[in-house]
């Protein structure tokens, strides 16, 4: 049996099959559902571990299936794919544990976990996609599988948010489709290739390629929440906390940002994109998004809404890193794909804990929270400092490489953007921390649940502690082998130096 052919399919199937089975389960089958969820998540983790080991030893994991005509569905485990697939696999496992605790006793759990698994299936498909058409398929599947999760609560606000989400993402999908079809009509291939596959095209196509680039980036920019295509994200925060965590850290937003990385690196090639003068405007747009969204975050009293604007800002670091078009900045951008995910998921888990345990949704209600929930608040503090870019949390590593990368290619204007972003991040996170750690707690919390000696349920407490530790470890041990930074270096090396 040719394992290298089947493993990518097995990685996708490890969440797809449990997802389909879960749909058929009745609400009371809690144990079966939990076993299916955990088995899927753990087996995916093992399979991804296998792929990483194989790739490090020179093995190639690739699956090809004919779709229609000459178009193939290609799943390939390259270095860039593996960094994203590892992130989504690890965080899916943690989020599953969290979601099990979070949704205890709530209705429609089978529907929720079914779509939850489909969502991860789509994300893994996006990560492993070996060509643009496969990417597009999973990218659209992701939209459709996350929509029911956004509207899961069934409230009017949730339905409205879902509608906005769908309009934005479907429009984005349409632009992406248009760009893909046009590109295919010019090149006859959509295969992701290191350093791109367009640089040998005649100069007569350059104008068309510029428009295609804009179409693709606009299509992907919707999910990556680039301003002004970000409107859906702050609204989508009405979803349950595990969904928000998934949207902001693992799946939707990341799929958009990852898509931008793919288009710039493996479709156009960063040097070719720079020669068409496409990367600099993209960098400007990313920089504007970083600052604009941070300013918006300052004025939000709703915790999840503030975190949502923070996501809009932080995800653009990835785009900025790619668009600066230099090897060191590329490391910063790619590594932030992982770092932002770990830090942001921590913050959303904590926000969910505050809401579930004490009924706290607003920042103005967070006085003295550190005293009542010290462990959750400690995790939140680590996540917040990471977002600010304070050492030694992972966010510092990303900013370090982005700054160095900008200096390397003489784009020093990026430094004030990073500095401004840090100040704004501090301005909207530090008051939250001050309130929680140093202000007096109220006599009664809005809706307090008693969990005995523990500050909250164990299934809710462990995930943020694990992800906060990961965020700290990713900063403290950044240069160790297998760290996200080392993977990002490997990817940058491949993109810029290997022929």
């Amino acid at each position: 049996m040719n394992w290298s052919y089947w493993v990518p399919i097995m990685v996708v199937a490890s969440s797809l099959i449990p997802g389909i089975v879960i749909f058929t389960l009745s609400e009371e089958r809690i144990i079966t559902r939990t076993v299916l969820n955990m088995t899927g998540a753990l087996s995916k983790l093992l399979l991804v571990g296998w792929m990483i080991w194989g790739v490090l030893n020179g093995e190639t994991f690739e699956t090809r299936m004919y779709l229609v005509g000459d178009l193939e569905l290609v799943l390939r485990a390259g270095p860039l794919a593996l960094i994203f697939v590892s992130l989504s696999t690890v965080l899916w496992l943690v989020t599953t544990v969290y979601a099990i605790g979070y949704l205890e006793n709530s209705p429609y759990r089978s529907r929720f976990f079914g779509f939850f698994s489909l969502c991860v299936t789509s994300t893994v498909g996006v990560a492993l996609a070996g060509n643009l058409i496969t990417f597009l398929l999973f990218y659209e599947l992701l939209t459709l599988s996350t929509y029911p999760l956004v509207v899961h609560r069934g409230t009017e606000v949730a339905r409205r948010a879902g509608k906005t989400y769908l309009i934005y993402t479907m429009c984005g999908g349409a632009l992406l489709l248009l760009g893909t079809v046009w590109l295919y009509s010019i090149t006859g291939t959509l295969e992701f290739t290191p350093r791109g596959f367009l640089n040998e095209l005649d100069a007569e196509h350059h104008q068309a390629l510029t428009i295609i680039f804009v179409l693709l980036i606009a299509g992907l920019g919707v999910k990556a929440a680039l301003v002004p295509l970000h409107g859906w994200l702050p609204q989508a925060m009405v979803a349950p906390a595990p969904v928000s965590a998934l949207l902001h850290a693992v799946a939707v937003v990341k799929a958009g940002a990852f898509g931008i990385v793919r288009v710039v690196y493996d479709v156009f090639g960063v040097e070719f994109a720079a020669s068409l003068e496409l990367t600099l405007p993209l960098a400007w747009l990313a920089a504007f998004t970083i600052i604009y969204a941070s300013i918006r975050a300052l004025y939000q009293d709703d915790l999840k809404r503030r975190l949502a604007y923070s996501t809009v800002s932080q995800v653009s670091y990835i785009t900025l890193g790619v668009a600066i078009a230099g090897p060191i900045a590329a490391i910063g951008g790619v590594v932030h794909l992982v770092h932002q995910g770990i830090m942001k998921i921590t913050l959303f888990f904590c926000a969910g804990n505050f809401a579930e345990t004490l009924g706290i949704h607003k920042i103005s209600e967070m006085n003295g929270l550190g005293k009542r929930m010290p462990l959750t608040m400690s995790a939140f503090t680590i996540g917040a400092f990471g977002m600010i870019g304070a050492p030694p949390v992972a966010g510092f590593v990303s900013k370090w490489y982005l700054g160095l990368g900008a200096l390397e290619v003489e784009q020093a204007w990026v430094i004030p953007v990073l500095a401004g972003s840090s100040i704004l991040n501090a301005a909207y996170f530090l008051p939250v921390l001050h309130r929680a750690w140093f202000r007096e707690a109220p006599e009664h919390w809005p809706h307090e649940h008693n969990f005995g000696r523990r500050e909250t349920a164990l299934a809710l407490l462990l995930p943020p502690l694990i992800t906060a530790s990961l965020a700290l470890a990713a900063g403290l041990f950044a240069t160790l082998s297998f760290s996200p930074l080392e993977w990002a270096r490997f990817i940058s090396l491949r993109e810029f130096y290997q022929s």
Partner: protein, 433 residues
């Protein structure tokens, strides 16, 4: 064997306070154990202090690879820092505020983390390690000093954190310039190499700005004077021996003292030093005899140091000749100020002079201007957002209308819309073929 034990001690001096800081978050730890942890955490550092040898350790696995060392120079600073923490621990033991156990525990955690970072800052052998430890120390020290909810403490805490963040950004930029130009970040390499490169001036300016903000040199001293008037004497004493003294230490480690810099920069530093000392003297003569006195003495101490630094930066030989007095000056100066201040504060009641009131007014003015600016920013972004929302709504409502009319989606079948769209996508893909 001895070397290994000393290396372990070097790591323990940083690790032990962190280990002791973690469990105190848990609510079931007994009070006495918490109090003991503060004193216990200093034990490895005290051993390092009394063992008279130079010890060096490279931790390549930590962060981007940082080095730790203790030698005759930084042993002076370590002595100051340990003394300050011992005084603080003593105060903590006798503190009457222990009625609120959790606040004590929290303070203790912040203090333990500050101990690690202050010792880490001193033991660092490169500017990256120095930056990381001193930056974290800045934040954890906020938890130690500004935990009370009095209005004046909150205001001084805000000023402290604002200055800290801006200083960190300046130093971060200096770090980037250094890595970009010379790659190696050890103090001795920096001291020699940074004077010979084109971006030297920017690096020096960024470094100076960062440490002037952190070290409370005139005119960036407001946070210090405000803190001294609002904090109690033991906590205020930590300011002179930790952020201020370590900022001075940073200046001599980060700047190319061995090779000299541009004459005009050295002259500017000396001018700043004269202004700082002059201003502090005027304030003392004008009658600042309360808690603020400690702050003005600190400013004089900073000013004198800056003047000497200016000489080092002008002359290539001065540093080699007078290096031996710099570390004792930083160490003993800060301790002396703290002692004088503590005695003075006990003798005299706090007084607010007219000049202080004017400064208060100035700060109020700055505060209201910044509020006005933030409000303006908010209004601008709000209007952009509203305009964009309206534009989007007009366009998408039309689209939706068309779509909804055909599908008439009801409350319970909303998700079927997704499946419909998936089918449409499938049709498009087939169409492509």
């Amino acid at each position: 064997m001895i070397q290994t034990s000393l290396s372990v001690m070097l790591i323990l001096s940083l690790l032990l306070p962190v280990i002791l800081a973690i469990p105190v978050i848990e609510q079931s730890i007994p009070q006495q154990r918490i109090i003991n942890s503060l004193s216990l955490s200093l034990a490895p550092s005290i051993l390092l202090l009394i063992y008279p040898d130079t010890i060096q350790l490279d931790l390549d696995w930590l962060f981007f690879g940082i080095g730790l060392a203790i030698d005759d120079g930084n042993r002076w600073i370590l002595f100051t820092v340990i003394t300050s923490w011992v005084v603080y621990a003593t105060r903590f033991n006798s503190c009457e505020q222990h009625t609120d156990l959790v606040i004590s525990k929290k303070n203790n955690s912040f203090a333990l983390l500050s101990i690690t970072c202050s010792i880490g800052t001193i033991l660092s052998t490169d500017i990256l390690g120095f930056f990381i430890f001193s930056s974290i120390m800045g934040y954890t020290l906020y938890g130690v000093l500004y935990h009370q909810q009095k209005r004046n403490i909150k205001t001084s805490g805000s000023l402290y954190i604002i200055f800290l963040i801006i200083a960190d950004i300046a130093l971060f930029d200096a770090l980037l310039i250094a890595v970009h130009t010379i790659e190696k970040l050890e103090f001795d390499v920096i001291q020699i190499s940074m004077s010979n490169i084109a971006s030297n001036q920017l690096y020096v300016v960024m470094t100076l700005s960062g440490f002037i903000l952190r070290g409370a040199v005139w005119p960036a001293h407001i946070w210090l004077t405000r803190s001294y008037t609002s904090l109690n004497k033991v906590e205020a004493g930590l300011l002179s021996t930790l952020p201020v003294a370590l900022a001075l230490l940073g200046l001599i480690h980060w700047l190319p003292t061995d090779q000299g810099v541009d004459e005009s920069i050295a002259f500017s530093i000396q001018l700043l030093a004269i202004c700082t000392v002059g201003y502090a003297l005027i304030r003392i003569l004008a009658g600042s005899i309360g808690s603020e006195l400690l702050a003005w003495l600190t400013l004089i101490y900073n000013g004198v140091f800056l003047y000497i630094l200016g000489i080092f930066l002008k002359s290539e030989t001065a540093w080699q000749s007078y290096e031996f007095i710099v570390f004792p000056y930083i160490a003993l100066g800060s301790i002396t100020i703290s002692i004088i201040g503590w005695i003075r504060i006990q003798q005299l009641a706090q007084q607010q002079d007219k000049l202080s009131q004017k400064f208060e007014e100035l700060q109020e003015g700055l505060h209201s201007t910044s509020s006005m600016l933030t409000n303006l920013l908010r209004q601008i972004t709000d209007s952009i957002e509203t305009a964009w929302r309206m534009l989007r709504k007009t366009a998408t409502n039309q689209l939706l209308k068309l779509f909804y009319e055909r599908h008439s989606i009801d409350k319970h079948t909303d998700w079927t819309l997704g499946i419909t769209l998936l089918v449409i996508l499938g049709i498009i893909i087939v169409g492509l073929g």
